[in-house]
Amino acid sequence: MDPRGVLRELGLDLPEEVAVRVWDSNAASRYLVLPERPPGTEAMREAALATLVTRDAMIGVAKVAAPRVGGGA
């Protein structure tokens, strides 16, 4: 009923201009979350990108944080 409220409770506050689409996985279809690539990671390869991804990002309730300057795995 209030997906934005649920996300907020999990720590993700989405701006109004981002449309929220809820997928009710009630039947045989299953969904895989593809986290949004954070800015500043264009030069990073798959293995390095994988270290940025968290469980919460993979279940769609958090954004992947950009690597800290000088860090980047």
């Binding site: 109004e16 449309a19 929220v20 009630n26 045989a28």
Partner: protein, 214 residues
């Protein structure tokens, strides 16, 4: 069934209780239940058994308690074990069991198996891409995949999913009733009223019997 599990749109359920760095299992027994669920493949969904847990107990139980309760109910109903055996925690020596010993090779094979429930039969679909459809006002007493928040609500066919058995009949009368399944798009406002954000939407798979033309 209009059961306690069908909570879409319900309020007053409290906080989610978000835990940072949550452990995979909170108690060792939860891991054992997860392993049991993988090892004991009796076929079919556990959901109908979970939904039969009385409402007050359902709300009190944790995720793995519900699954354990449903699994035991199913094992007893299918004659794999008796209630007395479960209570004692060991098999009745007099009972004849045809259970094969589980080996790591068998477990690996089971884990890698993807359940495929799509029926490859030619059926003329009643609805097509772009059709406006309304959720029928039905209240099945069996297991169903139609959440109550879709009843009477109008959406649009977004995609054809293929042909699948209707769970209501399969888990009710034990009949296979294959029919088309459609991905339906509902606007958040159609479901939750004018206070919902204008551009938000909800997508859900609906069996043909759940829908009527709008």
């Amino acid at each position: 069934m209009n059961g306690i599990h069908d909570i879409g749109g319900m309020q007053g359920l409290g906080e989610i209780g978000y835990q940072a760095n949550e452990p995979l299992f909170h108690e060792p027994w939860e891991g054992r239940v997860a392993a049991l669920l993988q090892a004991i493949r009796l076929g079919g969904s556990l959901r109908p058994y979970i939904e039969r847990i009385p409402a007050a107990e359902y709300l009190r139980m944790s995720y793995y308690e519900r699954r354990y309760t449903a699994l035991v109910t199913r094992l007893i109903e299918r004659g794999v074990v008796t209630r007395a055996e479960v209570d004692r925690g060991r098999g009745d020596p007099a009972a004849v069991k045809a259970t094969q010993a589980l080996t790591p090779a068998v477990v690996r094979e089971l884990l890698l198996r993807t359940p495929r429930t799509e029926r490859h039969i030619e059926l003329t679909p009643r609805f097509h891409f772009g059709d406006r459809v309304r959720g029928r006002n039905i209240h099945p007493t069996t297991h169903t995949r139609m959440p109550r928040y879709t009843r009477g609500r109008t959406g649009v066919v977004e995609r054809m999913r293929g042909v699948f058995n209707l769970p209501d009949r399969e888990y009710g009368a034990g009949e296979t009733t294959p029919q088309h399944v459609y991905l339906i798009r509902y606007t958040a406002r159609e479901l939750w009223g004018d206070d919902a954000p204008a551009h938000d939407a909800l997508y859900i798979d609906m069996w043909e019997d759940y829908l009527e033309p709008a």
